[in-house]
């Protein structure tokens, strides 16, 4: 089946440090999407990126579909960034489907 691997599984940063989250996937993807899950469980879409680099605020997503990898860079981390970051491989060739990784748990400490 489809596989999406995220690394690291968990990460602890001091406030102000940068984070680099990795996402590797096992088959052809149309795009990568990144989601954030708050500690209470609610989910938010962050970025959708078919290829190349996209920025929004302190987030930078890079997707290299040919090499089946992507990353999410969080600059100047804040305590409120703590939570789980999920990478999803989206395929929409014919029918659409999403395959999620297990996530990277980020903890930002003062």
């Amino acid at each position: 089946g489809q596989q999406v691997q995220q690394s690291p599984a968990s990460l602890v940063l001091q406030e102000g440090e940068n984070a680099e989250l990795q996402c590797n996937f096992s088959s052809t993807a149309t795009r990568l999407q990144w989601f954030y899950q708050r500690p209470g469980g609610s989910l938010v879409s962050l970025l959708s990126n078919p290829s190349g680099t996209k920025h929004t605020g302190r987030l930078t997503s890079t997707t290299v579909t040919k090499e089946r990898r992507g990353s999410l860079h969080i600059s100047s981390s804040q305590i409120t960034d703590s939570g789980t970051y999920l990478c999803a491989m989206e395929r929409d060739t014919g029918y659409q489907n999403f395959y999620f990784g297990k996530g990277t748990s980020l903890t930002v400490i003062p």
Binding site: F35, G41, L43, E90, D92, N97
Partner: protein
């Protein structure tokens, strides 16, 4: 107010009972989704709906069916629930489908005994 709602928030059912999970959105989004999330497994897509009566299977549709009779409302139905369907279920909606930002509901925690 851009919102996705889910009812109920918590539900306990016995194996073999029928389950109805409801999702609503007030943004007139065309596309709606049902996911489940289990500890250590991430999210899994159950169904996508592209509009009224236009539904498509996701990665794990077996044991589930959906109904979308109005654009703002999307239901997930479990006929004869099984214990392995115990999970947290999330509904989401988006403008269009491909690469669009998804707006999520708060989730329904379903326990099947």
């Amino acid at each position: 107010d851009m919102k996705v709602t889910q009812m109920p928030r918590y539900l306990i059912k016995r194996m073999g009972e029928n389950v109805l999970l409801e999702c609503g959105q007030d943004m007139s989004h065309e596309t709606m989704y049902w996911y489940r999330q289990d500890p250590g497994l991430g999210l899994q897509l159950i169904y996508i709906s592209y509009d009224v009566d236009s539904n498509s299977e996701g990665d794990i549709p077996k044991g589930y069916r959906v109904s979308r009779k109005k654009r703002e409302h999307f239901s997930l139905i479990l006929d004869s629930a099984k214990t392995n369907q115990t999970s947290v279920y999330f509904c989401a909606s988006s403008w269009g489908g491909r690469g669009a930002e998804q707006f999520f509901g708060p989730g329904t925690r379903l326990t099947v005994l």
